[in-house]
């Protein structure tokens, strides 16, 4: 059953507005919550996620930083071990590469290294992948999901809907674990229904978006929408496709995917990320381990092409997973 269909009153808004609501509500609820990042305050956030918060909560809660990613992520870690709940924005997730020492060696490890004495209740968030606008090119539109999902000690999530974006960010801020919250760049400006007021979406549950009997399409982040589109196309060919949103990548919740594959016997993973060693590779490995006897065909994958993000419009488009590729691959698997 789909768990996200909100039974509450909803309102249509963009993902950045949904994230903004989450931040506003958590800043109001808990004075330990602070925001740090480049242009998050006076400038209102390059992708609008922090819009209006500086004016509402002031410069001591919404803190503009210089271009010092390694150090302001470290400041987040330091505040977190002292009991604050910093939400640290990466203007683009690509820039987190500058901060990887703090993320991998400190944010992810202090809880364990201290024998559990210290907690690091911080959130590292920002947009990744080729969007919202086109032409981001090689150093600004990368999808680095795998780097974070690889690292024990981090909780890694990525919402695929506006509703989840709000509920998961609120849950991430309240989590006592360090959370890497990956916002799918292509969805930043996309509109969808969002629950009004207080609700949380758990950080360890994948979500069944659509039931189906012939094949299971598995995506996360921006690729979930592609899976849903493909599922609608496949209907014309008389194929019934299930769609699973893997939104929680570490820990990885395989339950809905396994349950679906038990019915369909076939699976196709769709992701914007590079294929080799990525989340899709891990999902395939889990299916091999835990669903081998349910599978009637090899698991397929459609991913971002393994190139840096090119600039030319035609090449950029080709570098992304294509709807027709997904549909063709799904038919091939279904026929196998």
């Amino acid at each position: 059953m789909a768990t996200t269909a909100p039974a509450m009153k909803t309102k249509k808004m963009s993902m950045h507005e949904a994230l903004n609501q989450a931040l506003r509500e958590e800043l109001s609820r808990d004075e330990k919550v602070v925001i740090l990042g480049e242009e998050v305050g006076l400038y209102n956030g390059v992708h609008y996620v922090t819009r209006g918060l500086y004016q509402e909560f002031g410069k001591d809660r919404v803190i503009d930083t210089p271009i010092s990613e390694e150090s302001f992520v470290g400041v987040g870690v330091g505040m977190a071990i002292m009991g604050f709940r910093p939400v640290v924005e990466m203007m683009r997730m690509d820039f987190s590469l500058r901060a990887m020492d703090q993320i991998y060696n400190h944010m992810a490890k202090i809880h364990y290294m201290s024998g559990g004495h210290l907690k690091v209740p911080m959130v590292l968030r920002g947009p990744e992948g080729p969007g919202p606008n086109p032409g981001l090119t090689a150093q600004h539109g990368q999808q680095l999901t795998a780097l974070f999902a690889h690292c024990p000690g981090l909780r890694v999530v990525t919402p695929a809907t506006q509703h989840d974006a709000k509920g998961m960010l609120k849950a991430a801020i309240r989590s006592d674990d360090p959370v890497v919250f990956l916002e799918p760049g292509p969805l930043n400006n996309k509109q969808g229904e969002v629950g009004e007021g207080e609700y949380l979406v758990p950080l360890d549950r994948a979500d069944t978006k659509r039931e189906g009997g012939d094949i299971t399409l598995i995506g996360y982040g921006a690729s979930v929408a592609l899976c849903l589109q493909a599922a609608r196309e496949l209907e014309h060919d008389g194929l019934s496709a299930a769609v699973i949103d893997m939104r929680c990548l570490r820990p990885l919740d395989m339950q809905p995917a396994l349950a679906s594959v038990a019915k369909t016997g076939r699976a196709l993973i769709v992701e914007y990320a590079w294929q080799s060693y990525g989340p899709g590779a891990e999902i395939v490995a889990r299916l091999m381990q835990d669903a081998f006897w349910d599978l009637d065909a090899p698991v397929g994958r459609v991913s971002g092409k393994e190139t840096p993000l090119p600039y030319a419009a035609n090449l950029e488009e080709l570098s992304k997973p294509q709807l027709d590729e997904i549909v063709a691959k799904a038919k091939e698997i279904a026929a196998a």
């Binding site: 190139t307 035609n314 090449l315």
Partner: protein, 336 residues
């Protein structure tokens, strides 16, 4: 000039005066850059250019004066993302720069890089880097190489005031000084790191002071006056070549447009603030000087501008007509 352990003296013998041809060449190049950016921004609005567009308008004297003093057969440039003007001043054909911006295979980076990632080893232009501060250590590496090569070449590294906030800036200056590298580190202080003013991102207001702890000469120059930039560069480059030691220059200037094309600068600065900078517009300052010295008449300058514009429009048109990369080129140059 502020100094630390070393200083670069002005030679006692008066420098030979600039030739009229040289002044006119510099004026023409500054006008070329200004008009190029104007056309480029138009093409962005027409949808031909996508992603990022960082205009160099207002800052022309820095690049033009400095690169006029280079030894083009031995010296190299490592640049940041605000790179169109520096490309032109290094002698890269405007048609190739337009073609890159239009995502054509005839572009300097074959349409793979876009606005921030121009590369032309032939013209000794080594990028075009989208990561703030990303080029500074690369420039030190180029300096390491040049030191081991004949010809006493040096590397000029351009970056903004915001780059001083990165760790790599400080690490690289230390390395360059420790290892006696022929690198000129040029901070183009245009008073803003995106929407964050100098006072809000830098602990010291004089950026030369933030570079003065590494045992290399530092110098603040007037980045609006192309003659001043040229004279200082000529003197400093000679000393760097001669001593095989690095140097840090802070060029004071101002960008007219937003940080990028989507940015609205009046959200964070005022027209009153802009006005004195525009009064000292680099093209205007040089034009006035040449008119006053009767080297050019206003009509001749206007004619020059019209010629430049016509030439650029023709080049832009040829770039427009050039082909996009072919689909199979997507995977070219991922690896050798």
């Amino acid at each position: 000039m502020s100094t630390t352990s070393e200083s670069i003296p002005t030679p006692a013998a008066a420098r030979p005066g600039r030739s009229s041809a040289q002044w006119k060449r510099m004026l023409r190049m500054m006008i070329t850059i200004r008009e190029f950016e104007h056309l480029g921004e138009q093409e962005f609005r027409n949808g031909l250019i996508r992603g990022y567009y960082h205009s160099y308008a207002g800052q022309e004297a820095v690049g033009v004066g400095m690169l006029e003093a280079l030894d083009p057969s031995h010296d190299y440039i490592v640049d940041h993302y605000r790179d169109h003007g520096h490309c032109l001043a290094m002698g890269i054909d405007a048609e190739q720069v337009f073609a890159e911006l239009f995502g054509r295979r005839t572009g300097v980076s074959k349409g793979k890089g876009g606005s921030m990632h121009m590369y032309s080893p032939d013209k000794h232009f080594l990028g075009g880097d989208g990561i703030v501060g990303g080029g500074i250590s690369v420039a030190a590496g180029v300096g390491m190489a040049l030191k081991r090569m004949p010809g006493k070449g040096l590397c000029v590294c351009f970056f903004g005031d915001g780059a001083l906030d990165t760790g790599t800036f400080h690490e690289s200056l230390n390395l360059a000084s420790l290892w006696d590298l022929p690198v000129v580190f040029v901070c183009i202080n245009n008073q803003y790191s995106m929407g964050t003013s100098l006072q809000r991102h830098s602990s010291l207001s004089q950026l030369v002071d933030r570079a003065s702890g590494y045992g290399m000469p530092t110098e603040q120059i007037d980045g609006q006056d192309v003659g001043a930039v040229y004279s200082a560069s000529e003197r400093i480059f000679a000393a760097v070549r001669e001593r095989q030691r690095p140097c840090f220059i802070e060029a004071l200037t101002y960008r007219y447009q937003g940080h990028g094309i989507h940015d609205k600068p009046l959200n964070y600065r005022t027209t009153e603030e802009e006005e004195p900078w525009r009064r000292r517009d680099p093209i205007r300052l040089l034009s006035e000087k040449l008119i006053e010295e009767r080297q050019m008449t206003p009509a001749q300058i206007e004619k020059m501008r019209q010629e430049v514009t016509a030439e650029l429009e023709a080049k832009a048109e040829r770039a427009r007509q050039a082909p996009a990369p072919e689909a199979r080129e997507l995977f070219d140059d991922v690896m050798i």
